[in-house]
Amino acid sequence: MSELKVTGVVQSRREFLRNFLRGVLLVGLAGMGARVMLGRRCQSAGDFDRQKLCKGCPDVAFCPSAVLSVGRKVWQLDPSKCTQCGRCATHCVLQSSAVKCVHRPAQCGYCRLCFGFFQPGATTLNSAAENQICPTGAIRRKFIEEPYYEYTIDESLCIGCGRCVKGCSAFGNGSLVLQVRHDRCVNCNECSIARDCPSDAFRQIPATTPYRLKAGTESSAS
C-alpha cells in the first residue's frame, strides 16, 4: 500500500513538472508569435495604395489585406554594387539561373557600336556569332533608323553571366543590368548566389518593390 502511494507521488510530481514546463514553453512560443506579428513594418504603404489594397489601417499588425505580405522579402541584387563576376550564372540552385540580364531602354544610347553586344575584338559590326559578346546569342539587334539600333534580350537564352553588362557599363550608358527574375526565382531561405557573391550585392528587399531598375536610385535603396 505504502509503495503504491510513493509511486503515485512520484508520478504526480513528474506530471506537475511536465505541465509547468509545457506552460512556460507555450507562453514563450506565443510571445514570439505576438512579437513577430506586432514587429512588422509596412515598408511601402504607397505601393499598397497603388494596388488598391491599403485601407489605411491604424496598425499594421491587423492589416486585413496583407496578413502575410507585410514584411515579406525577396532576393534582389544591387546593380551599383555588382562587379559582373559571372557567379550568378553558375551558383543558382536552378539549372538555368534565376538571374538574367535586363535591358533598360530609357538608359540605352541605341549605339551602332554596342559594347554590350559586340565582342571587343569583333572585326565587322554584324550579328555573326563570333562578333557577339553573349555566349548564347541571347541579345537581339534590330535596326531602327540611322544610326540607331535596338537591343532586346531573349530571356530564355540568357544565362545571367553578365558579360554584356560588363561591356555596357564600361563603355556605354550602363543600360544593361543583372536582376533576379521573380517568375523564375524560388526565393530560397538562403540564396546560394548571395552566399558567394564577392561584392555582397544581394539583399532581401520588400516583395512589394522587388526590382532595382531605376538608374541612380539603386544605392540609396540599400
Binding site: 509511486t7 513577430v36 502575410l68 559594347f115 533608323e145 540607331y148 564600361a170 521573380h182 524560388v186
Partner: protein, 422 residues
C-alpha cells in the same frame, strides 16, 4: 580601329566599370519608334504563403487526429504522401521548419530585422503540436521525413549505444547552425539540406549525392536523417517529452504480450522494467552524485573548448575571411580570392572599417562559441544522466522523445486488433 578599341576596352575596363552612366545622349527618333517597356514579373503572391501556412496547420491537425483518435496507419501514410507532394515536390522544400531555426536565431540575435510571418508559423506550429500531441509533424507532415518514409524496406535495429552516440550529432548540428545564423555567417542547414536537390531536380552535386546516400542507407536504417542529423528533431524531441496526449501502443491496458517489441523501425519502444530496484538507495544516490559532478565537468570543458573555436569557425563569416585574405599578402590566397578582392577594391571600401567589423564578428564567435560548447557539454551530460537513471515501467511504451508517432506499432497490439474487429 577595332583593335585599338579592344585594347582600350581591356585597359580601361576596371576603371570604367565604376563610372558608366549616360555617356551617350538619349536618341531622338524620327521614325516614330517607341521604347518597349521593361517586363518586371512579380514574385509569387502572398496568398500562396498564407495557403502554405493553412495547409501546414491543417496537415498537423489531421495528423494528430489520425494518430491519436483514428489510430490509422493507412491514413498517416496517405497524409505522408500528400506532404511529400505538396511541401516537397510542389513547394520545393522551402521554406521548411528545419531551416526556420536559422531565421529565428538570426532574428533573435538582431542580425535580421524582420522574421517573415510564414517562417515564424512554420517554426512555431510543429512545436506547439509536439507539446500537445507528440511529434505528429515528423510522422506525416515534414517532406524530408516523408521522402525517407518511402524508403523503409528492410529496417534493422542499431545497437543501443550506437544510436545513442549518433543521436548526439543533431545536437551539435543544431548548436552550430544557431551560432552561424546568429552571427550572420551562414545558413548551414539550408546549404546542406540533402533532399532539397531531389525535390528541385537540381542543385549542388555533393549535396544531391549525400541525399541519395541517405535514402539508400534509409532502406536498412529507418529515417537516418530524422534520427541522426535533423536539428529541428532535437527541439521536437524535447517538446514531445512534455506532450500532453502522446500516442500509446495499445488502446487499452498493456498485457505485456511482447508482440509490439519488434514493430518499431526507429527503435523507440521501451520495454517494461521491474519496479523493484535491486540496488540499495545509497548506491543510487552515490551514482547520482558522480553523474551530476560529471555534468558540471562536461559543461565546463564545453565552455572552455567552445571559446577556443573562434579560429576555426569565424572564417566561415565572409567579413572575417576577407579581412584574413587582405592581411595574408600571400599570392596563392590572393589568387583564390581574386574576385572578392577585386570587388572590395573597386567598391572603394575601407580596410580599417572591414577590420573593425571582422573583429566585432570574432568577438561574437568567442562568446557564442563558449555558449555553444557549454550547451553541448550540458546536453551530453544530461543524456548520460538519462541513460543511468533506472526508471520503473510496467508497460510497453513509446519513448516520448524518440517516437515519431508513425502509428506502425498500433496494429501489432492484440487489443488493437480486438478494437478494430470486436
Amino acid at each position: 580601329m577595332m583593335r585599338t578599341v579592344a585594347l582600350l576596352f581591356y585597359l580601361l575596363m576596371p576603371v570604367l566599370t565604376v563610372l558608366g552612366e549616360n555617356r551617350f545622349p538619349q536618341p531622338q527618333f524620327e521614325s516614330g519608334y517607341s521604347m518597349p517597356a521593361i517586363s518586371v514579373p512579380a514574385p509569387r503572391v502572398a496568398s500562396w504563403e498564407l495557403l502554405d501556412v493553412l495547409v501546414l496547420g491543417g496537415a498537423l491537425s489531421l495528423a494528430a487526429w489520425l494518430i491519436l483518435k483514428k489510430r490509422s496507419r493507412r491514413g498517416v501514410f496517405l497524409l505522408t504522401v500528400f506532404s511529400l507532394l505538396y511541401f516537397g515536390f510542389w513547394r520545393k522544400g522551402c521554406v521548411c521548419s528545419i531551416g526556420g531555426i536559422q531565421n529565428v536565431a538570426a532574428w533573435l540575435s538582431g542580425n535580421e530585422a524582420v522574421l517573415p510571418l510564414s517562417v515564424a508559423a512554420f517554426f512555431i506550429l510543429p512545436l506547439v503540436f509536439a507539446l500537445f500531441f507528440g511529434r505528429v509533424f515528423c510522422a506525416a507532415v515534414c517532406p524530408l521525413g516523408a521522402i525517407q518514409e518511402m524508403m523503409i524496406l528492410f529496417p534493422k535495429r542499431l545497437p543501443r549505444p550506437v544510436s545513442l552516440a549518433l543521436g548526439m550529432v543533431p545536437v551539435v548540428y543544431l548548436g552550430l547552425a544557431v551560432l552561424l545564423a546568429a552571427t550572420g555567417s551562414a545558413f548551414i542547414i539550408c546549404r546542406h539540406d540533402p533532399f532539397v536537390p531531389i525535390f528541385r531536380l537540381g542543385g549542388e552535386l555533393s549535396v544531391l549525392l549525400a541525399g541519395v546516400f541517405l535514402l539508400l542507407v534509409g532502406i536498412v536504417v529507418a529515417r537516418p536523417f530524422c534520427r541522426f542529423l535533423c536539428p529541428y528533431g532535437v527541439l521536437l524531441n524535447w517538446a514531445s517529452r512534455l506532450s500532453k496526449w502522446h500516442a500509446t501502443i495499445t488502446p487499452d491496458e498493456c498485457v505485456k504480450c511482447r508482440l509490439c517489441e519488434r514493430a518499431c523501425p526507429f527503435d523507440a519502444i521501451r520495454v517494461p522494467v521491474a519496479s523493484l530496484v535491486s540496488e540499495s538507495r545509497g548506491i543510487g544516490v552515490r551514482r547520482m552524485k558522480w553523474l551530476l559532478l560529471l555534468l558540471v565537468f562536461l559543461t565546463g570543458i564545453g565552455l572552455w573548448t567552445g571559446s577556443r573555436l573562434e579560429g576555426v569557425l569565424a572564417p566561415i563569416n565572409s567579413k572575417v575571411k576577407l579581412d584574413q585574405v587582405l592581411r595574408s599578402n600571400h599570392p596563392a590566397v590572393e589568387k583564390k580570392y581574386a574576385l572578392e578582392l577585386e570587388a572590395f577594391r573597386s567598391g572603394g571600401r575601407n580596410p580599417q572599417v572591414l577590420r573593425a567589423e571582422a573583429e566585432a564578428v570574432r568577438r561574437q564567435f568567442r562568446v557564442g562559441g563558449a555558449c555553444l560548447g557549454g550547451f553541448l557539454g550540458f546536453v551530453f551530460g544530461m543524456s548520460m544522466v538519462g541513460v543511468s537513471i533506472r526508471r520503473s515501467r510496467d508497460a510497453y511504451e513509446p519513448d516520448r522523445g524518440e517516437c515519431l508517432s508513425c502509428a506502425r506499432c498500433f496494429r501489432s497490439c492484440p487489443k488493437e486488433q480486438k478494437r478494430l474487429k470486436p
